[in-house]
C-alpha cells in the first residue's frame, strides 16, 4: 500500500489495431483528488475503466487498494464508487427506486439503507423529488443522483468519468463543492476532465495524450515547469510538441473565411 491507493505500471489497452492506452504508470495517493487531464480520445476513460474492472487490460500491472485488477476485480468493486460519462441510472425508475436498487445490490439493507438514502438525497439537493422518474430530472440533478448512487456503499475510492460534461456552471460549482467535502472525509477521488479550472482544483494531475502520460504533478509544479501563465498553456504546449502542429494558428489555414479574401464571407 505505502500510501498509494492506486498503482499502475505500464498499463496498456488495445482495441484491435488501435492502442487506446499505451503504457501508463500512475501512483495515486490515498485521500487525494487526482485528475486525469487530456483532450477527447486521449485514453482517459479507458484507463479508469480498466481500474474499475469494466475493461480488462491488454498488458501491464494495476492494483487498487492492493488488489489486482486481473484477478480481484470483484473485491475492488465492493469499495469503489463509479460514475460514468453518460447518465447510466434507470430513467424509468424514480430517484428513490434507483437509490434503493443500488443500495441493495451493494448489500446495504434495512434502516441503514433508508438512513443513507435520506442523507444522500439531502446531500444531492434533490429533496422533494424522491418520487420523480430519474429520466425527467435536469442535467445537474441527474449528475448528483448518480453521485449519490455511487456513494451509497461508503466507497473508499470514487471514480468519476467527466462528471461535469454537459452541466451548467452553477451545477458544476455545486458538484465540486461536494467533491471537496468527500475528499475531506478521506475518500480518494479519481476524476477525468478536460476543463482547466477543474484540473486546477485537483491535488495532483496527470496529463494524458495519445494514450501516454506527458506530464504529472501538482498543478503548481506543472505551471512552474516552464514559461507558462496557467495550466491551459501547459496543456496546449504539450499537444503542440507531441503532434508537431500549432493549435492556435490553424484558423489562418482556412483562408476562404477571411474577409481579405475575395470569395470570403460577405
Amino acid at each position: 500500500m505505502n500510501g498509494y491507493l492506486i498503482e499502475t505500471e505500464d498499463l496498456r489497452k488495445a482495441f484491435g489495431d488501435v492502442t487506446a492506452v499505451d503504457g501508463i504508470s500512475l501512483k495515486i495517493p490515498a485521500g487525494s483528488i487526482y485528475g486525469i487531464l487530456g483532450p477527447n480520445g486521449a485514453g482517459k476513460s479507458t484507463t479508469i475503466r480498466m481500474l474499475c474492472g469494466l475493461l480488462t487490460p491488454s498488458s501491464g500491472k494495476a492494483r487498487v487498494n492492493g488488489l489486482d485488477v486481473y484477478t480481484q476485480s470483484e473485491q475492488i468493486k465492493q469499495r469503489l464508487g463509479y460514475m460514468s460519462q453518460s447518465f447510466s441510472l434507470y430513467d424509468d425508475l424514480t430517484v428513490l427506486e434507483n437509490l434503493r436498487f443500488y443500495a441493495t445490490i451493494y448489500g446495504v439493507r434495512g434502516r441503514e439503507r433508508e438512513e443513507r438514502i435520506r442523507q444522500l438525497i439531502a446531500m444531492a439537493g434533490i429533496t422533494g423529488r424522491e418520487r420523480q422518474l430519474a429520466g425527467t430530472l435536469s442535467g445537474g440533478w441527474k449528475q448528483r443522483l448518480a453521485l449519490g448512487c455511487a456513494l451509497i456503499h461508503k466507497p473508499q475510492l470514487l471514480v468519476l468519468d467527466e462528471p461535469t460534461a454537459g452541466v451548467d456552471p452553477v451545477a458544476r460549482r455545486v458538484f465540486w463543492e461536494l467533491i471537496f467535502k468527500l475528499a475531506a472525509q478521506g475518500i480518494t477521488v479519481l476524476i477525468t476532465t478536460h476543463y482547466m479550472d477543474e484540473a486546477q482544483s485537483c491535488d495532483r494531475i496527470a496529463f494524458v495524450f495519445g494514450g501516454k502520460i506527458l506530464a504529472e504533478g501538482t498543478p503548481a509544479e506543472l505551471v512552474a515547469s516552464g514559461e507558462f501563465r496557467n495550466l491551459e498553456d501547459v496543456f496546449i504546449d504539450y499537444v503542440e510538441q507531441t503532434t508537431g502542429q500549432k493549435v492556435r494558428s490553424s484558423f489562418e489555414e482556412i483562408k476562404f473565411l477571411l474577409r481579405s479574401d475575395g470569395g470570403g464571407v460577405q
Binding site: G53, L54, L55, L89, L93, I105, L133
Partner: protein, 368 residues
Amino acid sequence: MNLSRFGMVIWKEFKHIYRDPVSLRLVILMPLLFTLLFGYAITTDVEHIGLAVYDGDQSYESRELIRKFVASDYFSLEQMAGDSLQLEALLDAGEVKAALVIPEGYGKKLKRGEVPESLLIIDGTDPTIARTALQSGNLIANVYNMRTLSDGVFQVAEMKTRVWYNPNLESAKFIIPGLIGLIMQNITVMLTAFALVREKEKGTIEQLIVTPLRPVELILGKLVPYIMIGSIDFLIALFFGTWYFHVPINGSIFLLLGLGFLFVISALAIGMLISTVTKNQLQSMQLAFITILPTVLLSGFMFPRDGMPLAVYWLGNLFPMTYFLEILRGIILKGIGLEYLWKEVAGMTAIGALLLAAAIKKFHKSLD
C-alpha cells in the same frame, strides 16, 4: 447467489415492465390475437369443392350417385356438362376443382350386379384440396356401389378402418396444439431477447458491471418476471385455442400447465442467450428471427419429422419447441401422461437448462 440482490433485480425488472404499459398490453394481446388469427388461417379442412358432372347415363342410378356426392358436403355441384370436352374446359378455367364422368350404361351394369366404372378427375394444383377430394370421392362411390350391390350375389371384400384420437380427421385438432406451442415460442423468445441488450444500448449495464452483482443473479433475476408473463400468455393461448376452436383436452390439464411452465422457461432461455451475445436490439431481433423461423419447419409443426433426413432431424432436437409439440399433441389429443412423455420432458428440460447455463456463462461482467 445472494437472495436479496437476486430479489432486487426481479423487483427492478417488474418496475420496467410496469412503467411500459404499451408493451405490457401487447404481450397480453399477442397470444389472443395470434391464436385466433392463425387458428383460422391454418385450418386445412376442405369442404364444398366445386364439382362439374357429365352424366352420360341419365339413369336413376347415375342421378343417385350425383346426389350422394352433393349430400356429402365435400362437394357442391357447380355445373352439369353437356359432354366431357366441356368438363375439361371447366377444369382448365379453374371454375371447378373436380369433375365426375358417368359413362353410358352405368345403371345397367349396376343392376346386372357388375361393378360399374365412373371417373373422378381432380385438379391437383393444390394437394390439400386434391387429397380430400380423392379420398372423399372414393369413399362416396364405394359406399354407394356397396349399398346397391349388397342385395346381389357379390360379396364385396370390405376393409374396416378406424382413425384414433381424431376420428373425423379435423385439421384443427392437429393444428391448434402445435399452434399454441409455436405462438408461445415466438412470444417468449422475443420477450427476453431484448431484456439485457436494452441495458447495453442505454448504457445502464456499465453501472451494473461496477457493482458486486453476479451474472447468475442478473440473468435469473431478469428471467423471473418474464416467466410469469409467459405463463399468463400460455394460459391465454391454451384457453382460446381449445375453447374457441373446440379442441378438447383429453389428458391431464395440470400436467399440461406444469409442462407449459417448463417450456416457457426453456424458450425464455433462448431469448436470454440471444440477449447476452448481441450488442444492440437490431442484432437481437435478427438473431431471434434466425432462431424462430427454422423451428416452424424443423419442429414438426408443419411437416412430420419422420420423413426428414437424419441431420435435419437432429437439428430439430435442439429446439425446446420440438419436444413441446409432442407433449401438447400427446396430452391434448391422445390424453397420455408422463409414462409416455417422459423422454420429451427430459429432452426439453435438458435443452432449457443448457441454454440458461450458456446465457449465464456468456454474460461477462466487462465491456470488452
